[in-house]
């Protein structure tokens, strides 16, 4: 019996047979994927262009330092910026340790049984719940049931709930990415579970965890709906000084300006968006720097 191969007709090394067609399909594929990438970039560029065009002339020092006003040329974001910083720091303070702790429990401690699987599925589902639902939850639990009122603490706790699932899931993935051999090595020299986790697994996973936290917090900074529901004030004239003060945030201030009839306020809203973007980018930068510090320390 002869070998069941199909012999090539000749010794040619140029594209013959069905190869030209296959190569063509490959290059069409390349075109489609490039187009998809360009479309996403183009959308971003158009968005930025539109916002900068309208908001650029309204950017001023006063925008950052002035309190809100009925006259657009005197209106500023100072109260909203302060509110956003309060909300985000408190959110981080609550959600970061709690999220990482939950992830450590689920990955390093919890037995793999039906209950932890159900828990896991629920956390994944929570990450997909629309943010306004968290707003309603915050309104119900923190503002009304705990009777905190429409204050910074209630808003921050609401945002913490919103960020928790994302932080937990990202942290779990970061922990899961640490090779089992590292844990074995540490157990092998007589370390307890906590020593293995604290000295090896967690430091190695920190860069990945921080990435997840950046994502979650970035989402929280831009969120408007949950805080609108859970009690950010539309018009506040003093910066929050503590947990129990009323507050507003940058997106809510932008939302307010957008809904005013005067075009000046709409342009001011665009300027506000630029400020929000700048804040987001600088926060991400800080996170990236922290992340690289940690990576350098683990000496992979």
């Amino acid at each position: 019996m002869s070998a069941p191969f199909h012999a090539l007709p000749d010794e040619s090394l140029t594209a013959t047979g069905n190869l030209p067609r296959r190569q063509k399909i490959a290059s069409i594929g390349r075109g489609i994927f490039l187009l998809a990438t360009l479309f996403a970039v183009a959308a971003l560029v158009v968005l930025l262009w539109y916002i900068f065009q309208r908001g650029w002339n309204w950017l001023s020092w006063g925008l950052l330092t002035n309190p809100p006003s009925r006259r657009p040329e005197r209106a500023g974001l100072s109260i909203a910026i302060s509110g956003t910083l309060w909300i985000i720091s408190l959110t981080l303070l609550v959600a970061f340790p709690m999220g990482v702790a939950a992830a450590i429990y689920l990955e390093e401690y919890a037995p793999k049984n039906r209950w932890t699987r159900i828990l896991q599925i629920n956390i994944s589902n929570l990450a997909g719940v629309p943010s306004v639902v968290y707003g309603l939850l915050g309104l119900g639990i923190f503002v009304e049931w705990l009777n905190l009122g429409r204050v910074v603490l209630a808003g921050a706790l609401t945002m913490a709930l919103l960020s928790l699932p994302v932080i937990i899931i990202a942290s779990q993935e970061a922990l899961r990415a640490i090779p089992w051999s590292l844990r074995e090595a540490a157990y092998g020299v007589g370390a307890t579970r906590w020593q293995v986790t604290a000295s090896h697994v967690l430091p190695a996973a920190i860069p990945g965890i921080l990435t997840g936290v950046i994502l979650a917090v970035s989402r929280a900074i831009g969120e408007t709906a949950p805080l609108l529901v859970a009690g950010a004030a539309g018009f506040v004239t003093t910066k929050p000084g503590g947990f129990f003060d009323s507050y507003t945030t940058i997106p809510i201030q932008i939302y307010n300006w957008m809904s005013r009839p005067q075009t000046e306020f709409r342009d001011l809203a665009s300027a506000g968006i630029i400020v929000l973007l700048a804040l987001l980018i600088s926060m991400n930068l800080i996170a990236i720097i922290v992340r690289q510090r940690f990576s350098a320390k683990t000496r992979w």
Partner: protein, 273 residues
């Protein structure tokens, strides 16, 4: 004095496996992974200050047995271990035994070199640190690295990452790390399978050196390695339902020259496995 000791060691080492007092006495060991009966009724002794090689075809349970000795199988959620492993008159598998203490006394070197992503110094020092040792760390690190025949190569770069070393050096670093808790026993799970022949020989020399002061159990796929390095060899095979069983445990020379069981003979002559 040391010379005298070394001489007696050298003289008693090769064929005296049966006469040595066992440091570890394994009897009736059964291991299950979920419903799978992975290791069936294994019993053998590991004599003090000797090298015991565990050989056998893939999947015969030799690594599983090795990992029972320092309770590493505890980390696998579905694993269940029955039987007795007597060490210093205590059953390692008994409920009151803390696996962390077991692992401190019975160190381990793994198949793939797995140094911590830390400095060479910290790789050795960490195991001692977690066990509460604070003083004399520099001396301890030097002593362990010397004992692992690595000191001369790394003494000028102790603060460099352990991962920057070559594969063979990494594995010797892992051995140094295991020594830092001054264990009685060192378990080695195919320590040379990821190494080149030269590095392998260096590790084997080191093992012979270490056997003066430590008791060593090594799992190996390499029969020549078992023959070269070990005093006693335990041969495992696959029984019914892919269950690993012990076929023969004998002094190495005897097992390789005059095997008692025909399955051992088939395996070592290369007719099977």
């Amino acid at each position: 004095m040391t010379d005298l000791l070394e001489q007696t060691d050298a003289q008693t080492m090769p064929d005296a496996a049966s006469e040595q007092a066992p440091l570890i006495d394994i009897s009736g060991l059964n291991v299950y992974y979920g419903n799978f009966h992975a290791v069936g009724d294994v019993s053998f002794d590991i004599p003090k200050n000797q090298i015991t090689a565990l050989i056998g075809p893939s999947g015969c349970g030799k690594s599983t047995v090795l990992r029972c000795i320092n309770r590493m199988n505890d980390l696998i959620p579905t694993a269940r271990v029955e039987g007795e492993i007597i060490f210093h008159e205590q059953n390692i598998l008994a409920p009151g035994i803390d696996p962390v203490m077991v692992r401190r006394r019975i160190g381990m070197v793994f198949q793939k070199p797995n140094p911590f992503p830390k400095s060479i110094y910290d790789n050795v020092a960490w195991g001692a640190k977690v066990n509460g040792i604070r003083k004399g760390m520099d001396d301890l690190v030097e002593w362990c690295l010397r004992s692992a025949a690595l000191w001369d190569e790394v003494k000028d770069k102790l603060d460099q990452s352990g991962l920057a070393l070559s594969g063979g050096q990494q594995q010797r670093l892992c051995i140094a790390r295991a020594l830092a808790n001054n264990p009685d026993v060192i378990l080695m799970d195919e320590p040379c399978s990821a190494l080149d022949p030269i590095s392998t020989l260096r590790i084997e020399d080191l093992m012979r050196e270490l056997a003066r002061n430590y008791t060593i159990a090594i799992v190996t796929h390499n029969m020549q390695q078992a023959a070269r390095v070990s005093d006693q060899t335990v041969f495992f095979s696959l029984g019914e339902n892919r269950m690993g069983t012990l076929v023969e445990a004998s002094p190495t020379r005897e097992l390789f020259t005059n095997p008692r069981d025909s399955r051992t003979e088939d395996y070592i002559t290369g007719r099977f496995g």
